[in-house]
């Protein structure tokens, strides 16, 4: 694993869209907190506008988006656009949920830095965060 100390790294875990499947989001939020990061969790059913606003207000370095309804193609780009509009395009956006492999290249093109699907493990997510901060 990595040598960097987690310390002072703020991460927003957010649930855009309308699906209530929060098991994964809550697990990631709690496990990242246990790893020593500062984690904010939005709760379910958040609009892209609310997520972008929280990300800016809370001055986070990362936003993790979790979505299981299949609306990632619409909602992930919306969050990224809103962050960009607010001059916060330095915030690293990553995602997870039920996301078919074939959708991943497009998501990466529009600026989602990594996608963690079912079966992902914390050490990969932590390694990603450490490499991207």
């Amino acid at each position: 694993m990595t040598e960097k100390k987690p310390g002072s790294c703020r991460i927003l875990i957010a649930k855009p869209g309308l699906d209530g499947h929060d098991r994964g989001a809550k697990y990631i939020a709690r496990a990242l907190r246990d790893e020593g990061y500062e984690v904010i969790y939005t709760g379910i059913r958040q609009t892209p506008e609310a997520i972008a606003a929280t990300a800016v207000q809370e001055d986070v370095q990362f936003v993790g988006l979790s979505l299981l309804s299949g609306a990632h193609g619409e909602l992930f780009p919306r969050v990224i656009d809103l962050l960009r509009e607010q001059g916060a395009d330095d915030i690293v956006v990553f995602g997870g949920g039920i996301i078919p492999d074939e959708d991943v290249p497009h998501l990466k093109e529009i600026g989602v830095k990594a996608v963690f699907g079912p079966g992902s493990v914390m050490k990969d997510i932590v390694a990603f965060i450490e490499s991207a901060r």
């Binding site: 499947h21 809550k26 697990y27 299949g70 609306a71 078919p100 074939e102 699907g117 079912p118 914390m122």
Partner: protein, 555 residues
């Protein structure tokens, strides 16, 4: 008689067993069930409380129903094979239903998209990206007419996974039945209508607990009088388990929700034996076959006692835990998706051995997307093979009397009762939820489980063991992105053709009924539905009057 067995066991342990353990230690120091409770090496007649057979186990179709709710179980009629389906527009879903009925499915199960489940029309900005994704989009009676086009409602039973706006979707179904000239007394089916588990685990709540409970008891009262064969609620542990609970928690929190609904209905003056026979349940089925079977058996016994002893039910039908089962979505893996076919078969077998009344089997690619027609057919064939080839349906409750299964049944019963006591101490399920107690218990279990998978303590084939390189699956079902536009056009068309004055009048009537505590909400909802008021318009009136629920975030 048990004395000699005890002695024999000691002798066996000290001789035969000891010799083997000395040379070949067991695979692990401690063995546990899927829910992480200890499993003994061997279960013996002493684990079977034969003295209490009549009191605890008894006979099928009789109190306390441990062996099943019907006297002949699957020898009389097989369980209903009911695949949950729906996506895109009403037209597309209608075609899928007709296909499933042609393939030998015996009941329909409607999946609605999230905007419908949360009471928003497809043209509401908040619905962006979600229209038609996880189920069918229904905005008004016009969509419901199309959804059941060519499907005679007196010939099928229909389950609808709808909660916060359940009364509205039920009213739409009644309106379609009326158009088909099918009398209400011949309608069979279920609305999920279980708001408490939405607060706990599933997330499609709209209103706060109090008005939500009123909507539910209003449907109980209305159906008791008007739609006597309709299951007015499907009290669901499925989503609680998906959120990460263990087997005993799933049963405990579901029965605790059930207790809350029964209390609420009695509190508004309903007689327990008038409504309780139409309560139904919905559970998950995971991979630990014996533990799952024990869960269903324990659940039946506990519910029967609750209804008889706590609520004074006299009609045996009020005491029966009748349930639908779906195999475990959270047990499916994105890796090596064909392995899921095997998991589903084991889980389906557990549900049948546990005496389910109906069953949905998941499809292999559901960790990745909605299933294709071909995968759904395979899932349905899995049930048909269990039904017709495995032989398990030919006798009743075949695992009864297994030392292990009876011991597990007793253990789950003890765990469930202990949770029910704790929830009573908290003042019932509503305070237990608003204080976050239930959510915290589930999350602790979910967190432990995921940690166990990550550190390899629990093996998931294809994920943390026996991995292989594989190409990404192709040919996944995609919902046509044009569905949102189609729905927007359909709503505009409905709005342009309906009698606007009648819509406004019926919405005013609905508002007045919502303000009054005395009026049953079903009749004004039905008249608003028939005026082609949209789901979103009706829910907006109710949102104004009832307010909206805010989640208690527990991390």
């Amino acid at each position: 008689m048990s004395e000699p067995i005890d002695q024999a066991k000691q002798r066996w342990e000290q001789s035969t067993l000891e010799r083997t353990l000395g040379r070949f230690p067991e695979r692990r120091e401690q063995f546990t069930t899927g829910s992480d409770t200890p499993v003994d090496r061997l279960y013996l007649p002493a684990d079977l409380d034969e003295q209490a057979y009549l009191e605890k186990i008894g006979f099928p179709g009789e109190y306390p129903f441990t062996r099943g709710v019907q006297p002949t179980m699957y020898r009389g009629r097989l369980w209903t094979m009911r695949q949950y389906a729906g996506f895109g527009t009403a037209l597309e879903s209608n075609l899928r239903y007709r296909y499933l009925l042609e393939q030998g499915q015996t009941g329909l199960s409607v999946a609605f998209d999230l905007p419908t489940q949360i009471g928003y029309d497809s043209d509401d900005p908040i619905a962006a990206g979600e229209v038609g994704k996880v189920g069918v989009a229904i905005d008004s009676l016009a969509d419901m007419e199309l959804l059941f086009d060519g499907i005679p409602l007196d010939m099928v039973s229909t389950s609808m996974t709808i909660n916060a706006p359940a009364a509205i979707l039920l009213a739409m179904y009644l309106a379609v039945a009326e158009q088909q000239n099918v009398p209400r007394s011949e309608l069979r089916g279920t609305i999920q209508n279980d708001i408490l588990k939405e607060y706990i685990a599933r997330g499609t709540y709209i209103f706060p607990p109090e008005p939500s409970m009123r909507l539910i008891t209003d449907t109980f009262a209305y159906c008791t009088a008007e739609v006597p064969e309709w299951n007015t609620i499907s009290i669901s542990g499925y989503h609680i388990r998906e959120a990460g609970s263990d087997a005993a928690q799933e049963m405990a929190f579901t029965l605790a929700d059930g207790i809350e609904y029964v209390r609420a209905a009695i509190a508004v003056g309903l007689d327990v034996d008038d409504f309780a026979r139409r309560l139904s349940f919905f559970f998950n089925s995971h991979n630990d076959l014996f533990e799952e079977v024990a869960k269903y058996r324990a659940g039946r016994r506990i519910w029967a006692r609750i209804m008889k002893e706590r609520f004074g039910a006299g009609d045996p039908r009020s005491m029966m835990l009748r349930f639908h089962t779906q195999t475990g979505g959270a047990t499916l893996t994105a890796q090596q998706p064909d392995n899921n076919i095997v998991r589903v078969a084991i889980q389906a077998l557990a549900a049948v051995l546990g005496g389910t009344q109906s069953l949905h089997t998941n499809s292999r690619e559901e960790a990745l997307s909605l299933p294709t027609e071909e995968s759904v057919r395979l899932a349905l064939r899995t049930q048909q093979i269990i039904a017709h080839e495995s032989g398990v349906a030919e006798t009743i409750d075949p695992l009864a009397g297994s030392y292990y299964v009876e011991a597990l049944t007793d253990r789950i019963e003890r765990e469930v009762l202990s949770y029910l006591d704790r929830i009573d101490e908290l003042g019932g399920m509503i305070p237990a939820i608003t204080q976050g107690y239930v959510q915290r218990e589930i999350q602790e279990a979910a967190y432990r489980r995921q940690k166990d998978i990550e550190n390899g303590r629990r093996v998931v084939v294809g994920v943390n063991a026996h991995r292989s390189e594989e190409p990404s699956p192709t040919g996944l079902l995609r919902v046509d992105p044009a569905v949102a536009q189609t729905q927007r056009e359909r709503i505009a068309d409905v709005r342009s053709r309906r009698d606007q004055q009648e819509v406004e009048r019926s919405l005013r009537e609905l508002r007045a009924a919502a303000r009054s505590q005395e009026t049953n909400l079903m009749p004004p909802i039905l008249s608003a539905v028939k005026s082609y008021a949209t789901l979103g318009e009706m829910c907006r009136v109710l949102r104004d009057e009832f307010g909206e629920y805010r989640e208690t975030i527990v991390l």
